[in-house]
Symmetry: C2
Subunit: 347 residues, 2 copies
């Protein structure tokens, strides 16, 4: 028993064929005629020698690494508050696995660093890249796009014509606010999920305004506050809204995590939810059904988001021209107790 790794040459020798034939057979190359018996012999030899083709040699020869990069651009705090990452990861790795691709992960706190992830592409370590939470001030992004490197954004970037996968934030927010209006609310506050220069944040803000507009309710800037990803920002924003001369009767918080802080602020004032203040969130994090009260919120298909991003990217890598390079996934309003509508106890 040799201690050394077997290579395709060893397999070829044992099977009594050439290395070329081994390659043809193990890679299931089509258009080559090889009798079943020979194929069997080669497979058996490979099994016997415990042969695994060397990934580096394969990449070098084929020019493809069979790896895609996933870049997380959120800064530390925001990343930690992203409760969907596990699902997104699962979605993208599941899809990649189906095409024999692997996923390389990189976290990038500072997008404007000279070489945060560009070298991954330049060194040919990856065949394509998914960028989660892209920033418009990202120089490298523009370069990669210009070079025609396969690239998909997870989260939209306004003003750039780059393939992306995102949730329909406008429609989702609109749905949430329309629901509150339907319940009779006229003064509806808004706490955004993040500063408005984030596309998702702006979109949810738009949805809010559209819903108001279509119901003939005037937009009142006094009722709007900007959240900042984390619970604390929701807590603070809500306190401000509660301190208003005439406070709103309902509030749409464009992030469940931020809403979690808002709920705490409302309870702290001794107000009842939803009687004194109705709340609708966004994201439908796992904890939402168990909040106090269970949170009405807009469901976000996290797994699907990752899966679709992978799908789109792999199409680009294969050189296909996808029918849609702009994928907007639908959301769904999940009605629980915090909005005041009748609903089941949990979930």
């Amino acid at each position: 028993m040799s201690r050394k790794r077997a290579n395709s040459h060893d397999v070829a020798k044992l099977a009594g064929v050439s290395r070329t034939t081994v390659s043809f057979i193990l890679n299931r190359v089509t258009g080559v005629q090889i009798p079943e018996e020979t194929r069997r012999r080669v497979w058996e030899a490979a099994r016997q020698l415990n042969y695994y083709p060397d990934a580096a040699a394969r990449s070098l020869a084929s020019g493809k690494s069979h790896v895609i990069g996933l870049i997380l651009c959120q800064q530390a705090d925001h990343l930690a508050a992203d409760l969907f990452l596990p699902e997104v990861l699962r979605g993208i790795t599941d899809n990649a696995r189906g095409w024999d691709f692997r996923v390389l992960l990189e976290t990038v706190a500072n997008v404007s660093a000279p070489d945060a992830y560009l070298s991954l592409a330049r060194e040919r370590q990856i065949d394509g890249i998914v960028i989660s939470g892209p920033r418009s001030d990202d120089q490298q992004l523009g370069q990669l796009v210009a070079e025609g490197f396969p690239l998909v954004l997870q989260g939209r970037l306004r003003g750039a014509d780059i393939p992306f996968v995102d949730v329909d934030n406008v429609a989702g927010a609109k749905q949430a606010v329309a629901h509150l209006i339907r319940l009779g609310h006229q003064r509806i506050g808004l706490i955004t999920n993040a500063p408005l220069h984030y596309t998702a944040s702006e979109d949810r803000y738009r949805g809010y305004r559209q819903a108001l507009s279509e119901a003939g309710i005037a937009y009142d800037e006094a009722l709007m506050r900007q959240g900042d990803f984390v619970e604390e920002s929701g807590y603070q924003a809500m306190r401000e809204l509660l301190g208003l001369p005439t406070r709103p009767s309902a509030v749409f918080v464009a992030s469940d995590v931020v809403a979690f802080g808002a709920l705490a602020a409302i309870r702290e004032q001794g107000l009842r939810i939803p009687q004194d203040m109705a709340v609708v969130g966004f994201d439908d994090i796992r904890l939402a059904p168990y909040m106090h009260p269970p949170l009405t919120t807009v469901h976000l298909p996290a797994y699907e988001l990752g899966w679709q991003a992978g799908d789109l990217l792999l199409q680009l890598i294969r050189g296909e021209t996808p029918m849609r390079t702009a994928v907007l996934l639908p959301t769904e309003l999940v009605i629980r107790r915090s909005c005041g509508a009748r609903a089941r106890q949990k979930d």
Copy 2:
């Protein structure tokens, strides 16, 4: 302007030296004497040609991929409930980056699949591996260990002598329960974070029993329930404890997520926390300070966990013999409102 990627040969030509010299200079090989002027010329040529060494060729030649694998073995539901993944990822990628290593991520729902991640190692795609949430029935794991492949577990596996990084679950749980005892509680319930065959779960159970034992309180099996990662399991378990003829006056829930379900169950019965039922959790998830009431819990250093796992693995890859192959990170009890001790309002 040539459209093709530059390779080291091109750089050599432009700088007027041999390819070998280029390699020496760009890789900062020590023990080779080259005047500053030549070095400058080569660096300049590389810059000018926008040269990035090919990762595959480099791996093939050196036998090292400079990539480590991170395998997430939790099944879908449990993975989604793992709120620390982003922090752990950040810890491990941060560390890896410092040594010029990348992180390849794989999710594995079914550990007993014939080749869930083994091929990553066999194909030489990675130089080492971190396995998060290892299972004792994992065949591949044993194989890798037997082959001497650099491997670190994140989460302990009892009965196997494999390098690991984990949090000190026993001490943490003990600390939590001792705190409740100090507050005067005698009948203290336990809801585990997961079934007991999970090492972390068993350890926290042990810590619970140790604390009782040292206080001279008899262990009462009737007060113990097994959680199962998710909120719902905590909700159900708590309902059972509340249905007991004489219910406990406090409960230690060995997971904040599970505790979140338990809190909902307690409130549903109209009981007050902590007056009617004190609660201490485990993990210190971000939402803990904003729960109703803010949850007293055992802080878990997630970033550090990832960082240390990477550190240990990279030592093994470098062929060093780490001074400790068993890393137990300390926890810290964070006192908030749910336990009934006096504390600041938030955090």
